[in-house]
């Protein structure tokens, strides 16, 4: 793997300290979508 991109001198950051709020909201929306789809189809199954 190509090492070294000297221009990228970022401050040392621990993973936990990265701000991932946007990620968190995105995955939550994804989760809600899965829940809605699943329960919607389960309701359809029960109605038949």
């Amino acid at each position: 793997m190509g090492k070294g991109n000297p221009k990228q001198q970022q401050p040392s950051q621990n993973e936990s300290s990265i701000n991932l709020k946007g990620t968190f909201i995105s995955v939550m929306l994804l989760g809600i979508f899965i829940l809605i789809a699943w329960f919607g189809l389960y309701a359809l199954f029960l109605s038949r």
Partner: protein, 167 residues
């Protein structure tokens, strides 16, 4: 290995949802008995008539108790045999009153077929050598197309029937 705290929350909720789904379908299956078709009884595909339910005179719909029906059928390329009516003509439509409990029983004489009463939960694979069985309550009225939904040869799309559920 290190997980970000949001990832911990996400995975906990995700795993929780999966567990919830499994609990719901597991409860429906093992407490309420709502399994998918999973019958374990074999039959000689070359001689299905030897089996009582699939004798020609026993094919078609039959009321066995008040509000309880059995439908016996034999699938073969490219036809569902629902038996014959009083004029000796092949039955193509099965009529059932609403809210009755119906046991569908079907087997194949040749290749693998499907049996789906489209728009209901009756959806089974029909395999030579095995009997497929599914019992359900026909809750909704209407005319439902029966389709062979597993490829069975050149005439596959011509293999169909009708189930009519009336008031």
């Amino acid at each position: 290995m290190h997980l970000h705290k949001y990832e911990k929350i996400w995975l906990t909720l995700g795993l929780g949802s999966l567990a919830l789904f499994l609990l719901i379908i597991g409860f429906a299956a093992f407490w309420k008995g709502t399994h998918p078709q999973s019958h374990i009884e074999t039959i000689d595909p070359q001689n299905v008539e030897a089996y009582e339910a699939f004798k020609p005179e026993n094919l078609g719909v039959r009321e066995v108790a008040d509000g309880k029906y059995i439908v016996n059928m034999v699938a073969s390329a490219f036809n569902y045999d629902f038996g014959t009516d009083i004029d000796e003509k092949a039955v193509k439509t099965i009529r059932i009153p609403k809210d009755s409990t119906v046991l569908y029983q079907i087997t194949s004489k040749d290749v693998v077929h499907g049996f789906q009463v489209a728009g209901t939960n009756v959806n089974m694979m029909v395999e030579p050598g095995h009997i497929s069985r599914y019992e359900t309550v026909m809750k909704n009225t209407g005319t439902f197309t029966v389709v062979c939904n597993e490829y069975c040869g050149v005439g596959h799309h011509q293999m169909y029937g009708t189930v009519e559920v009336y008031e």
